[in-house]
Structures are given as structure tokens and as C-alpha cells.
Amino acid sequence: MALAVPFGQYVPGTSAVHRLDARFKLLIVTSFVFALFMVDGWTGLLLCAVLLLGAYLLARIPLKLALRGFKPILVILIFTFLANTLTLSAGGDAGALTSDLAATGLVAPNFGALPDSIALIGSFGIKPLGALRGLYFVLRILLLISITSLLTFTSSVVALSDALTALMRPLAVLRVPTEDIATMFSIALRFIPLTAEEAEKIMVAQSARAAVFDKGGLIKRARAWVPVMIPLFVNLFRRADELAAAMETRCYTGRGRTHLKVYVLKVSDLVIGCCGALFFVAAGIFL
């Protein structure tokens, strides 16, 4: 049996975070991200971190899972930190960093008399304040990833695409083809895993013909993918053709549709959603 390629990372559960209407989850996440980029300084950022940690505990999502999400960008994080910390001009140019900090709007807490830079070897050294700034950026990236992960851990892909669709629906007034976009979402949900599975199958089939994908220089490697990409696209076009026929058979035009799903609005969700969103917007503006 071909195992279905896992898509999304929903961790089923019944916690309050799971149960919250996905539309409001989206709203809160959006305002959280807004806050992340708007807060000037550690108070706001640490507040976001604490609240997010609380949400993780409330959702009973093992932090281990969240940590796993950091792996792919580990290099970027380390680079961000080092780039801010290391300097090649230790000893000189004392005022630069302070004005740098002012430029980003980042106010460092007062640690007393921190030297601007500490020379290690010659002019190569570290900047304690820069390290602090690096840490700040790293934490912000981590929070950004954690909040979006929390969203996908606690809402199924279907719930998310339904929520997006629902939030989008008012745009129909502006002649945005919301029905078509919604249908596109659901088709993508179906066909991304299918295509991934198919790509894997074709790759194995070409390996059976002694194709090698991971040897040689860049160009050779890119060329090695041609025998996978061509059949994959040919198949995608065939699929698209048959899918279009299946949709036509069922009278899809993208206009005049009704909907089986109605989105009942729970007052508690509405209150939590709006309060949460307002809170983060306020935090972003005032902290």
C-alpha cells in the first residue's frame, strides 16, 4: 500500500485551543504576528513569548513538536545571531552600534556599563549589545514559527481552508472570485499530496532504470531530474483535463452555488477572538 503522504501537521485534540473557531484563530494569529513586528523592546516580546507558551500548554501540544519545526531554519537562526554578535572592528567606531539600535527602534535594557565591543583576536571580537540584538531577532523568528505551527497543530487543513474561505467570502462584493479561490484551495489540498506521491513513484521507477539523482555537480543533478519532471507534468495535465471534466459533469461554474456548510458563530468564540485580536493589536502599538 502506498502510504498517504502526510500533509499538514494536525495533532487531534479537544483542548480549548483546538475547539476555538478556526476563523478566530486565524484572526488572533494575524494580530499576534502584527504585534511581533510592532513591539519595540523586550517587554512586548517576552509578553508574547509567555502568552504563546501558555497557549501551547493549554493546547497540550508537546513542545518537542514545536522544536522540531525549528530544525530547517537552524542555520538561519545561528547566522542571524552571529552576524549581530561578531565584529571585525572591535575597539573602533564606538557610537555605531548605539545608533544602530536606535535605528531599529530596539531599546536595550540597561545592563549598566556594557562595553561596545570586546576584542578577541586583533580587531575580531564580539559586541555584547549586538548579541542581545541578535537574540531579540532570533526569538522573534522563533515566535513567528511557533505561532503558525500552533495554528496548524490545532486545526485540520480542512478547517483552515474553510476558515480562509469564510473570511474571504465578503470579498465577493468586490467581485473577487471567492468561489473559484475556495475551490482552488480544496483542489490543492487533494492534489498536493497526490502529486508528491506520484513524484516519488516516478523517481523510484527511474532509479530502477539506474538513474542517479544525488551525484555530480549542480548541472548534472538538475539534468537528472528531467526524467522525473517530464512525466510528472504530462500526468498533471492529464489529471487536470480529467478533473475539469469531472467538475463540469457536476455543473461547476463558480457562480450561483449554495453551501452545505454553514459557519455557526459561537458568541464565546466571537468574544475570545475579538478580545485576543484587540489585545495583540494594542500590544503592538503601545509596547
Binding site: M1, A2, L3, A4, F7, V157, V158, S161, T183, S186, I187, L189, R190, P193, L194, E198, K201, I202, V204, A205, Q206, S207, A208, R209, A210, A211, V212, V226, P227, V228, I230, P231, V234, N235, R238, R239, E242, L243, A245, A246, M247, E248, T249, R250, C251, Y252, T253, G256, R257, T258, H259, L260, K261, V262
Partner: protein
């Protein structure tokens, strides 16, 4: 009445018309079976039934309404539901219920009506309780039943089913046939398109399409008992064409193999997907397999029994979690030493010409390529001069299958594994596959076929093994079969877990 009136149709750019002067009708509530070889125009006809294609000449009429008029198009599509071959390309939504609702939503029906229709449609095809499932997690049979439900929710008077079972395993087929019977019981008129004679027996009317022309219309019995006609319509091949089948369910005896030739060995092979994770899944749990040169082994088993995993390991494409693979002379399995023809191998074709595609494997293996294209094309029954320079994408389905098999044969492997090699092929295509395998075996290739279609392969193979829940058993024949196989020079043994199916 769904009536086709003097339909003619030619695809843009095609030399031959796909349909010529086809007229027939499906009466309300009738069960009509349409037979025809690959490329005879069956799918084209299905697409014409509800105006997905429009005919060049003639027209289709549904209960008095013309299908080709814009004003009535929606009504016609509501009246005639079309289900195609591959369920994966017909499911639109991310949950079962949403997909069943897709059609009624498009018709703009009120919510309670949609709910009612979905419940009824899902009940008819036996998918109640599946509402919130993700279609990607369904089995083939379940997917195809969902497609039928999606069309059924439009409340059609007629259903056109274009080979709805040809992509499914035996379980899925049975499920879909049960669904078709439920449709008949509800009084829908059905046009069932297939090239499988097994479905023709209880039809109210039988139609045969050959090269775009309707060559037969009548009661099933008159045709099914007339072997000459069946052969003439390319629905069956003459008995001289294939090795005669012996008593069903009995593998044929195997002469002791030449001991100087190495065998392919799998010893206590196990494989676990996502090992270590909470959702780890044991696909194989210790399988032993010996394939001698010139032997023919059939492995059968349900979907999910680990067939694909076993084949990938045997071909050296997957490293087993535990256990060993190799040849009896001590050499290792490397790409090319064991050829593998995957299910629907035509999806691997990519090159600009058939010849280039065939040489892909040999070139990767740095083999001497002179004469290979001609000889393997001849082996799969395609004339080299006509086919070597053609683009593989202009070939018919059956021809593509032959080229794909040729591209594997080109590597001159001593062992060949084939996964469902006859799936989707008509009588002639199947006969060709059987002839080819027999010839390879005669020349000393060790062949393993994986298929769920026992009746088709079992009497042709030397040994029949059953893969069940990740273990291999000797099938049929009782304990004797296992020991005979072992005594016969270890042609194929399924020791290790010798739990004889049907016996103990």
C-alpha cells in the same frame, strides 16, 4: 431515454475519427453494457453523453432534450452523470461529505435538500459513516464509490460508468459492483463501459464498439456464446494465442532449474515505514523468497499486504529494515540486475523518442547499446522501423505499456518483477503480456508477477505465494506445495513462516 443518434466524432489533429455513425439508446432503468478493445472509442462516447465533448455529426438526446444546446446543458448534466476510470481525478473536495455535496451545491439547491441527497447517495454506495474522512485516506474502491455518490447526489436518471473498476483491486471491484447493483435497484438507467466480459452476463443489452463503430447491439447470450464473434470484435483472443490454461488454481510444475545459474534470494526481510515514530507501520515482517532462473512466481495479496514494498526491496530500490537480499552466487542486487515493471509503467516515459527512452537504462548502466532498441521493440511486438523514432506521448495506451516494458527489458536483467502488468489492458494486450512472460521464462529469466487477479495468472505460474499482513505463505495445494517447491531445487520456497493458507 438517453439516445445517441448517428454520432460522428474526430479529435482535432487525429487522422482517424474516434467514432463513426454510432446510434443506440439506453432506456430508463435499463442496464446496458458497452464492450470494446483499448482505443475503440468508449471513453469518447462517455464524454459525449453529457456534452463534455460535442459530436461533429449527429446528436445526443436525453429524455427529449438536446445535449448540445446551451439552454438545456445544465438540465442534461443533471440528468446524465458520468463516472470515469481514475477516481483520484474526480474527487474535488477535502472531505467525503463536501465532495458528495459539490454537485448539489453547484446546482444551487437549498441546504436541507443537499443534506438529504448526500445522505441518500452515500448510503446507496455504502459510505455512511465516512463523511468527515479525507478522500486521500480512502481505498481505491471507497474513492470510486465516493465518485459515484457525488454524481448520484445530482439525482441523475442515467449514469455512464467508464471502466469504473479497472483501476481497482478485487476487493474494490466487488464494492463498486455492489454499488452498481444498488443503482440498478433504484431504477437508474446505466451504461456500463468495460472491456471485461465478466460484467456482460446480466446486462439487459450488450453493445460492442470496434474502431469507433458500433458492431453489435443485442442480448448478451447471443454474443457471449459465440466465440468466433468475440474474437472478431477483439474482445477475446483465440485459444492458440496463449498457453492453454490448466485446471484453475493449480500452478504448473517446474522443471528443476539449472543449478549453474544464480537465484535471487530474500532472507527474513522486514520493513517498517517511519520506524521509531508513533505511527510506524510494519509493511513486511520477515519474508523469505527464492526466485530461481527460469521460474515464474505469482505473488498475490490484498491492498496493504506489502506487495509494493516487497517488490521494491527485491529490486534493490529499498533497503530492508532487517534481513538480507542478494544472489545465490554472493553478488549484490544493483539497479539493472533485477528489472522491475511498476504498475502502469507508462508514466515513466519521458524521452523525445521511443528509442531514446528505451536506451535510458542501458546508458545509465554504461552498456553497449548497439542493436538494443530493435531487439526489445521486436520482443514487445512493435515494429522497430515504425516506432523507434516516434514520441512516446503519441502512442495509444497499449503501445505505451509495451514501450515501457521494453525499456526495462533493454537492461537485460536476469530477473524481472512485474506489478499488475495487465491492469487496464484489453484482451489482446493481456495475451501479449502472457506471451512475453512465457518467452522470458523459457529463455531463463526468473519472473515474479504481483497481481490480485488469481484466475488470470495462477495456472501460468510455477509457484503461487500469498502475501498476508507482511508475511509470505505458499498458497493452495496444502503443505505439499511448499515442500515440492523446496524439493524441486529450491525453486521458490516460502519457508520461515510456512503457514499454509487453506491448510492449517
Amino acid at each position: 431515454m438517453l439516445s445517441f443518434q448517428e454520432i460522428g466524432f474526430r479529435y482535432t489533429g487525429a487522422e482517424e475519427p474516434a467514432l463513426v455513425d454510432v446510434s443506440f439508446a439506453v432506456e430508463p432503468g435499463a442496464y446496458v453494457v458497452l464492450l470494446g478493445a483499448n482505443g475503440s472509442g468508449k471513453s469518447t462516447l462517455a464524454r459525449l453523453a453529457n456534452a463534455l465533448l460535442l459530436p461533429d455529426t449527429g446528436h445526443v438526446e436525453v429524455d427529449g432534450l438536446r445535449a448540445d444546446e446551451r439552454a438545456t446543458l445544465r438540465t442534461v448534466r443533471g440528468l446524465v452523470g458520468v463516472v470515469a476510470q481514475d477516481p483520484d481525478n474526480q474527487i474535488i473536495s477535502a472531505t467525503v461529505l463536501d465532495d458528495a455535496a459539490f454537485g448539489p451545491e453547484n446546482l444551487g439547491l437549498p441546504r436541507d435538500e443537499i443534506t438529504r441527497r448526500c445522505a441518500e447517495a452515500l448510503a446507496t454506495v455504502g459510505l455512511l459513516g465516512f463523511e468527515e474522512r479525507d478522500p486521500n485516506t480512502l481505498s481505491g474502491g471507497e474513492k470510486q464509490r465516493l465518485v459515484i455518490a457525488g454524481v448520484l447526489a445530482m439525482d441523475p436518471s442515467y449514469l455512464v460508468l467508464d471502466e469504473p473498476t479497472s483501476m481497482l483491486d478485487s476487493e474494490g471491484r466487488a464494492e463498486v459492483l455492489a454499488a452498481i447493483n444498488a443503482l440498478r435497484a433504484r431504477g437508474h438507467g446505466i451504461l456500463h463501459i468495460t472491456h471485461d466480459l465478466d460484467y456482460a452476463h446480466d446486462a439487459d443489452k450488450l453493445l460492442v464498439l470496434q474502431a469507433g463503430r458500433l458492431v453489435f447491439e443485442g442480448a448478451p447470450d447471443t454474443l457471449l456464446q459465440d466465440e468466433e464473434k468475440l474474437i472478431a470484435y477483439a474482445l477475446q483472443v483465440g485459444s492458440g494465442d496463449v498457453t492453454p490454461r490448466q485446471s484453475p488454481c493449480q500452478p504448473r510444475p517446474l522443471a528443476p532449474p539449472d543449478p549453474s545459474l544464480p537465484s535471487l534470494l530474500l532472507r527474513d526481510v522486514a520493513y517498517t515505514y517511519s520506524a521509531g515514530a508513533s505511527f510506524a507501520h510494519d509493511a513486511l515482517k520477515g519474508a523469505d523468497l527464492t526466485v530461481a532462473a527460469g521460474s515464474y512466481t505469482l505473488i498475490s495479496g490484498h491492498t496493504g499486504s506489502g506487495k509494493s514494498t516487497l517488490l521494491r526491496i527485491a529490486a534493490g530500490l529499498l533497503v530492508p529494515t532487517s534481513g538480507t537480499t542478494g544472489f545465490s552466487d554472493g553478488s549484490a542486487v544493483t539497479p539493472g540486475t533485477v528489472g522491475i515493471v511498476f504498475q502502469h509503467p507508462e508514466v515513466q516515459l519521458f524521452a523525445q523518442t521511443v528509442g531514446e527512452d528505451i536506451l535510458f537504462g542501458p546508458r545509465n548502466l554504461k552498456m553497449d547499446t548497439t542493436g538494443i532498441v530493435d531487439s526489445v521493440l521486436a520482443a514487445v511486438g512493435l515494429e522497430p522501423r515504425r516506432f523507434a523514432q516516434r514520441s512516446p506521448f503519441t502512442l495509444s495506451g497499449g503501445e505505451m505499456r509495451r514501450v515501457a516494458i521494453a525499456s526495462i527489458l533493454a537492461m537485460r536483467s536476469r530477473f524481472l518483477l512485474l506489478d499488475e502488468p495487465t491492469a487496464g489492458l484489453d484482451a489482446q494486450g493481456r495475451a501479449f503480456v502472457h506471451r512475453l512472460i512465457d518467452e522470458l521464462v523459457r529463455q531463463g529469466t526468473g519472473v515474479v508477477v504481483v497481481s490480485h487477479d488469481l484466475s488470470e495468472f495462477v495456472s501460468r505460474a510455477h509457484v503461487h505465494l500469498l502475501l498476508q499482513k507482511g508475511r509470505l505463505y505458499v498458497a493452495g495445494g496444502g503443505a505439499g506445495a511448499g515442500s515440492t517447491a523446496k524439493a524441486g531445487g529450491s525453486a521458490v520456497s516460502a519457508t520461515g513462516h510456512l503457514h499454509v493458507a487453506g491448510g492449517a
